[in-house]
Amino acid sequence: MKTAAIVFMKEVRENLRDRRTVLNTCITGPLMAPLIFVLVIHFAIAKQVEQAEKPLPVSVIDARYAPNLVEALKQLGMEAKPPMANPEAAVRAQEANVVLRIPAAYGNAWRKGEPAQVELIYDASQSDSAQAEARLEQMLKGLGQRTASLRLLARGLSPALAPPIAIAERDQSTPQSRGGLLFAMLPYFFILAAFVGGTALAIDTTAGERERQSLEPLFANPVPRWQILAGKLGATSLFSLVTVLLSIIAFAQVGHFLPADKLGMVLDLGARFTITVLVAMLPLVLLLAAAQTLVAAFARTYREAQTYLTLLTFLPAIPSILLSILPFKAKLWMYAIPVVGQQTVILRLMRGETVAGTPLAVCVVCTTIAALVVCAITARVYQSERLAISA
């Protein structure tokens, strides 16, 4: 393995002299995931605060039929807006989130003690509109209950008669789990860090070396090619690992930058998070380095390799998207699939859950096997005659 060590040292030294590679490895790559994380959390908190505290703007049509109702809604936080000619079109065009329309029959029905109908015009496929509608509906239900109680009292009955079932909501979601899609994508940005850290070297050591015409003289040396490859893979893995490690460390610090009071919990990304994620990521770093080297080995030029590797980078986004859309419950088989396993581990840890020893072991062992297989395939490709020929 002395040859591999010589190649490894040379690749590390050469790439440390490339400012762009060092910048990507030590700054751009590691900071990507934590930055996005902080943004997402702040965004989610801002949304919640907005929903709870900000006045709800609602365009009211024919407010004259129910002046008392509109007044009561204003007390609860509704901001009455002037009516509009075509509320359905306005909602569809997202010019208004929700519109309240009061039919002419409202007053009569109210006075007779019959259910008085009001219309809420909204678009359930727009989350802003659906949320505004839910808030307005909540206000209306509250008013309705109050009125019902008063009417029962007026007839000498107990208001307790009216609701046969009392619902007490105990929401178990956290700001993270409510983050939904954006939050489920976070492990992907994490894995992206491994990609970013290794890309420059994976290309430089294969397609780059061939384009610079230095691969043929290198292969003229009396050493087996697989040892040259081992050194190159080692260097690529090291850069990728540094990016991942810095990323995890940066991530662990994220908790300090989040408003824990508004979050309603302390986000603990401490030592256990760091170590668990690092253990899960180690074999993946080798797997990605080998996969990147393999893909780049097929490219004729540096530029071509960059194009291929960019496409490869999107592959791990697919399980991220699936995990965020499909109802997600961690099953043991998920840990066995490289990338998916790591995403599941990271996602669980970020949700404040723990990962048991068995799933973690399954994740590490299966990814290691996959990494060795890809290394073997890359070594085979490296033996091919075509590989070294520059022209």
Partner: protein
């Protein structure tokens, strides 16, 4: 000594090398002369085991390249057609990298490198990064790293390609000095004047075959032409590829 016996290599339908045999002896400069596309580079690539021949044998100091390619590469110094350097490393680091891959001990590596630095007159560029080197400086560095392990056999693919007159002259002197040290020097070229001035023995290749093999005088005598260029044309039987 390098012995080539009935070497063959095809790329699909194209027979790039179609039964080439010759011997390059120690203490001699042997030239592979032929027009562009004659099969010179492919032949050399099989000699330094970058490519596997479809048929035929290559023996370097009696070692079969098909049986023990690593032992063969250890006995060869190779300046391939591709002579790319690592641009973020200095000339010295480029040379030392290859020396270490050959497993040379550090003291011996220093001694050998210093000898080459003097012979190639490249001391002033040793600690510069190779990015921005002139063609001549690049070739010097490439040759130094190819010969840092002191090989008995030296293979050079078009060694004077792209060099100016002064660099070409010092390259020839360097090749002569290697010959006088008793090494086996094998080079390829498509330039007749160069081969005539340098080589003890000329192997003329056309269409993947050896069409003539001998000293310059023998080739002239065989064709009855006083001028080697005319002899060359007579041997390969066309004016193809003589633009150089």
């Amino acid at each position: 000594m390098i012995e080539v016996r009935d070497l063959r290599k095809a790329f699909g339908e194209v027979k790039a090398v179609d039964g080439i045999s010759f011997t390059a002896r120690d203490g001699q400069i042997t030239g592979l002369l032929g027009p562009n596309g004659a099969g010179k580079t492919t032949t050399l690539r099989m000699l330094y085991t970058l490519m596997r021949p479809d048929a035929g044998r290559v023996l370097v100091d009696g070692i079969d390249a098909g049986v023990d390619p690593i032992a063969v590469r250890r006995r060869l110094g190779v300046l391939p057609d591709a002579r790319g350097l690592y641009k973020r490393l200095t000339a010295r680091e480029n040379i030392d990298y290859f020396a270490r891959l050959h497993g040379i001990e550090t003291p011996k590596m220093h001694a050998r490198r210093e000898a080459l630095v003097d012979a190639l007159e490249m001391r002033d560029i040793m600690d510069r990064r190779t990015e921005g080197f002139s063609q001549g400086q690049r070739v010097k560095t490439a040759i130094a790293r190819a010969l840092v392990h002191d090989p008995r056999n030296v293979i050079l693919d078009e060694p004077t390609n792209g060099l100016d007159v002064m660099s070409t002259r010092s390259m020839r002197a360097f090749l002569k000095s290697m010959q006088s040290e008793g090494r086996c020097v094998l080079l390829s070229s498509h330039i007749m004047q160069e081969v005539a001035a340098l080589c003890d023995r000329i192997v003329v290749i056309a269409h993947g075959r050896v069409v003539a093999d001998g000293a310059a005088d023998e080739l002239r005598a065989r064709t009855g032409k006083a001028n080697l260029e005319d002899a060359f044309v007579a041997i390969i039987g066309s004016h193809e590829g003589l633009a150089a």
